[in-house]
Symmetry: D2
Subunit: 357 residues, 4 copies
């Protein structure tokens, strides 16, 4: 990691240049929004094969009025930090090119999330640049902050894995997951499917759904297993929201656990984290984590309930899949790597009320 950014004493006013490869998709558009408003970043390029030559505001209507236009992916400029929001498989093919064009590469696809080539053989279709797998660092600062400062490649985690990992990590740290049995039931919004989409994701077909998808064998199991050291029974459901991922983890520990132990575990894990909020019980309509309360933000809300009758801990975690589950996590990790304020560019507090954000 050799950007000049971290060498500077006054990091708050320092600016780095940034580019986005694949800026017309949902995660890419979110990167454009975040980098456009980031106090330490000058956004100099956004690429898109389909929309090259068009203004970024023509594709992302929230960015109307910005002057930046998409350029061809082949005309990559050198930048301090390059974010790639391309379909899975693209970054691993171009990683040499991307690394040359930047000091820090932050990839939002699945291409560098896992540790070994063997995992890619098992869960994906192999890997085209396995020599970089050791180089890449997992982006989630709550799990991997200490390794981000020296990273050359950062791999943003999967949205469903992120929600699950943030819910379960405090239990793992407190050894409560040792020998535990874990079922994860995730509910996700339509933006997970990405921009475009066919008949199944059309409004008429997808409105109001509770649709099981990838009921078994979801690829995010691999990330979860890698970081927690245990396998989980994972199932996803598409529900009627645009942004959001909500993970409900049903945890059956090996022995009895008290509510106090849970609070200790969760407070210990997260009280210093700028983007994790504990939400457990209380009064009012919002007693547990919900995606609505974090929509558009980089927050993860995490909470739990004890079910003594079933010797079960129910853990809830909610994120915005486009933010904490993708672009926000990427910018957060880059902030850590570049020595900026961790919250720089990620200050938006979210909305209330908000519908299907």
């Amino acid at each position: 990691m050799g950007t000049t950014a971290t060498a500077d004493a006054d990091t708050e006013t320092e600016t780095v240049t940034a580019g986005v490869v694949g800026g017309s998709g949902f995660a890419g558009g979110e990167l454009l929004r975040l980098l456009d408003g980031h106090p330490n970043v000058e956004l100099v390029q956004a690429t898109s094969r389909e929309y090259a030559g068009k203004s970024i505001g023509g594709v992302h209507p929230n960015l109307r009025g910005r002057e930046l236009r998409f350029s061809e992916p082949s005309e990559l400029e050198s930048v301090d930090v390059l974010f790639t929001a391309t379909p899975h498989g693209v970054t691993m093919e171009h990683v040499d090119e991307y690394s040359e064009a930047s000091d820090l590469l932050v990839d939002l696809s699945a291409d560098f999330r896992l540790a070994t080539e063997g995992q890619y053989d098992e869960w994906y279709d192999g890997h085209a640049a396995p020599e970089y797998l050791d180089v890449a660092e997992y982006a989630l600062p709550e799990l991997n902050r200490e390794n981000l400062g020296s990273a050359d490649i950062i791999a943003s985690g999967g949205c469903n894995a992120t929600a699950t990992l943030l819910g379960l990590k405090p239990l793992a740290d407190a050894d409560i997951l040792d020998g535990a049995h874990v079922v994860v039931d995730v509910k996700v919004g339509s933006s997970e499917g990405g921009a475009g989409g066919g008949a199944a994701s059309s409004h008429a077909e997808r409105s109001g759904v509770v649709r099981p998808y990838a009921p078994t064998g979801h690829r995010h199991e691999a990330e979860i297993e890698e970081w927690l050291g245990l396998s989980v029974s994972f199932t996803c459901h598409a529900v009627d929201m645009v942004r959001g991922a909500s993970a409900t983890c049903h945890v059956f520990p090996d022995g009895p656990v008290s509510k106090k132990e849970l609070w200790t575990a969760y407070r210990g894990a997260y009280e210093a984290e700028p983007f994790v909020r504990l939400v457990a019980g209380g009064s009012g309509s919002y007693r547990y984590p919900e995606p609505k309360a974090v929509a558009g933000t980089n927050y993860a809300d995490v909470g739990f309930e004890l079910d003594p009758g079933n010797e079960r801990i129910v853990v809830f975690s909610a994120i915005d899949n486009v933010m904490k589950g993708s672009a926000g996590q990427a910018v957060h990790a880059a902030n850590v790597a570049l020595g900026f304020e961790e919250t720089a560019g990620l200050e938006f507090a979210g909305l209330h009320p908000v519908g299907s954000p």
Copy 2:
């Protein structure tokens, strides 16, 4: 019209055979549902190029368990009544073939809605079989019941035109539209766009929209003008529902009109109609027509309010675009043409509560 159906004395127990060309789309699927449950119809064929060989329940999950499978459009069977739910332009190309295969042809596309070739030159891309335009009868029984009994070809009206015409017809009959100025603002659901659909109609992009589309020059203006004899200023908005079309007509009559005259006009027009309900004022949440209250049904709810300060009549009408605006209207017209009970197969009362139906 030469089907044997109407020749029978005991029409209630009589059965005709029916086929559906283009059964995999939304209107086609609704025809399958209606004909499957119709007491006087034996549904013998449904065609679909894309799904030939597959069961109709694989495409329309509400029809799971039915034995009928889609067949190739090229293998058309002879039936008493043939419904065509094909994209605009298909029926006019195949009208000879379709007419030969059936005694009664009911087309749900725009191909035979207008009266003259000149209208098709102006509003569409011309017409391939203009000699049939005189033969075809407009389906809407509330406007054209007297001509349906002898029809060989019936053309189901456009959904937005249907909503508008049902709202305005009583005013036309009562001469209140003479010299009036009319603005029509229609709100429609996503099923109007048909099955399939690209990025703009994806759930992520279309959820929660209020999106102007065809703000000027909408083709349904032609139908409205033809039947009312006056031109209207017509604008459509896509809103977040799946089924439904709601027309708000702002009518500025030439001279003062009283509420009593309005009631007389609307009651006179519709008190004997089995599928039009007057909804104007009253208490409770549902004081005016709303698409929700007619979802899944063949009802049109119609109501109005007088705005003396602006010398304006505001007319509201709400239909299910897939039903009264398409398949339901077609079956209703066929019932009239075939001498069945008008409500046969169309008895479903709708749901309460119901979300975005």
Copy 3:
């Protein structure tokens, strides 16, 4: 059970009189819709304290045009079959009165679902008429058909319990649940909360939610445990739909189970059932049970997937909570009890497309 209905040879044309106590709520309104269209039922009364004197169509807009008006609950008429759709606790207080007014009482509340007073002490606030608990029969015909014919009181099951029980029953019958560990994660629509509702259920607050509620200790656990003989870890989430309950059961059996055994179990349990459809895999958008595909109908769609890596069976079941989960189940049970066609009045096939039904 002494209605004259079953004594008649020609049950199809026979008619019984029916009344609905509590007809202004969602389940009550659905009863009115079903009974209004039931070929063997003459609906003679609907009571409502709040709306006494008003037409039923003023409260339930889908029933516009019906002549029936709500009457005071105190003016109960004698009928052959009386349906009660009152808040929990009301029927147990009035069970003597209701039984006197009818030959068959069908209660949609929780008042007679459980078997013993002890269960009501544990899960509810005790019971006011425990002497009737032995008399009452659980409504779900798929579980209890053989006891419905002679029933005097029928207790419609809870919607979440119904979805869960229909998913798990075949596994119980095939002894696959013996020693199994079961987690149930249910997603429900807003109609479960009933008509009315405060700030938390307002559109602005509830739109787009994935909201954990009753994450532990849900009362429907009691019904499930009673019928399956095993306890389940049960959690509910409110999601953005109006009608629908979707239960995902994560089943960890004691030993290995093959897909073939599962198909045998499910086909054996349901192939003769008129209202259960097996949906497991296949192509297209709708590969598993979804509430949308059964909205407005009395169907339960049930399916499963095997997860060998986690030694898990994932069972999906989807119902319309207002129908199969309440009013439809009640009418179905009454049909069985009265000797009518089981599907009488319940023929509606559902809609496609349909949004948040």
Copy 4:
């Protein structure tokens, strides 16, 4: 206007103290969010009768973690600027008290929007403090910027009026409205109804609606008429979104108008405005103003289309009713009054994709 703020040379770093009366509603909550993130504001108090003593994040989940707690309205602190987000009628009763507690009072209710007591007699239930009507200035900077600098009381406009006025003002300025006939058809989200709400605004009843409300005689007509000098035929529809107001103005000018004249009028009116964006035509999904594209922001998107066949101009304008239509407009006006950057605290760019925001 006597705040010390404007007296300062270096306004950018200056900070004023602010309070919010009525902070538990939707507009009040939005004020808390905006002021909490405002670089020139120290938020010192938020009052709420219902939630006094509770943290603001308990009511507005997006503000979780903030330390501020609601206080009783009776314990009003002195601040530089006081925002009141109370139900209509409250501020006029307390205007003396509020004015004493602050140098600048910004009211979000309707209490000081209109110019004369006569208007309040006609459109509302009279006025309790008519002597302040001359003092108050209308907040919308696009209409009234020049008078805000010296204001002591600022009255934030109605959301529907704001959308309409921003759409029509350029035509008024260009004399195109002289003698014109104007129909305004507005579509609004559920947050317009405010927090809380009864049966009609419950999720089950309001989901998927297109519901006419206030079809005639809407109070916002008064504001529109006052600022444009012509009366408009105004009708509102509730549609399925949470935030957003979309006004479609059908304008029939006295004589022919060219597209070039329209562009000149709109560009002239808005090219220097920081919060108005012109959106008219182009390619992609978002060719016209839509509430989704401005959700959570203070932008108003405005566009138009010419309909020569009907001698009509169709004007579209879209705002977030909670922001540009209420709290954002209020903060914008306060920024002008206090000499801050107009965009201070209002920089959020909005989201893409976003559902029913």
